[in-house]
Symmetry: C2
Subunit: 135 residues, 2 copies
């Protein structure tokens, strides 16, 4: 069975993205290339943030084998799960940092989530409760 | 700690995407809305495929609370991990289905990966070996 190990977002301004994901989201930065990427560890998978101006145009390679071009300019959605007892804490933390909570939803499963944006405009969501019946 | 629970890709042609992700990639389809989305379960997280023409333009809501607009038109990258003994099998399976293997890379950690595209042009990668030192 395949498991998702890398999830990507795109941000043209990596400096802004680094402040947001390192300081506000508190993810562990494990690799950085000034004009190309920021790689974060999130519990059991990776969040890779790429500058699409770089990855959609400049071919890189590993020992002569190309890394295919990719990159998007708009707004990608991803969701993070959090324990019930940390949900309010995360919401407060973001509000304290002047991050606008765009919406909050209670799903039919009673799971609860709120939505906000990263500086590049990606749509982020923090969910509590087992909305998808995942293991 | 936050964990990624939903990873998204975008595809304007959801019929093509459904064939690819259900038949070739063998993911479990758990929800579908003809012109808007396909939701797949991948081991311990979700792969959501949205039609960006819908999600970037048409506001939906849950009990009056809006789901923020999102959606991208280009090419998002995601990577899947697989056990060493299934890596070749996955490569053969895709080749048998006429999917072009765009590149194959051996990383400095000895992890190995190959790249291919979904019908929408998203850049997919199957990795074996613990490239990121994840738990």
């Amino acid at each position: 069975m395949l498991n998702i190990t890398e999830t990507c977002l795109y941000a043209k301004n990596l400096e802004e993205a680094e402040y947001f994901y390192s300081q506000l989201m508190d993810f562990e930065l494990v690799a950085k290339e000034e004009t190309r990427h920021l790689f974060y560890k999130c519990e059991n998978s990776m969040l890779l943030i790429f500058n699409p101006d770089h990855t959609s145009r400049h071919q890189t390679d590993v020992d002569g084998n190309p890394i295919p071009l990719h990159g998007d300019s708009g707004s990608v959605h991803i969701a993070f799960s959090v324990d019930q007892n940390r949900y309010r804490e995360w919401k407060s933390r973001l509000i304290e940092h002047d991050i606008d909570i765009e919406s909050e939803v209670i799903w039919s499963t009673k799971a609860r989530s709120f939505y906000f944006r990263d500086p590049a405009g990606n749509s982020l969501e923090i969910i509590t409760g087992n909305i998808w019946n995942l293991p």
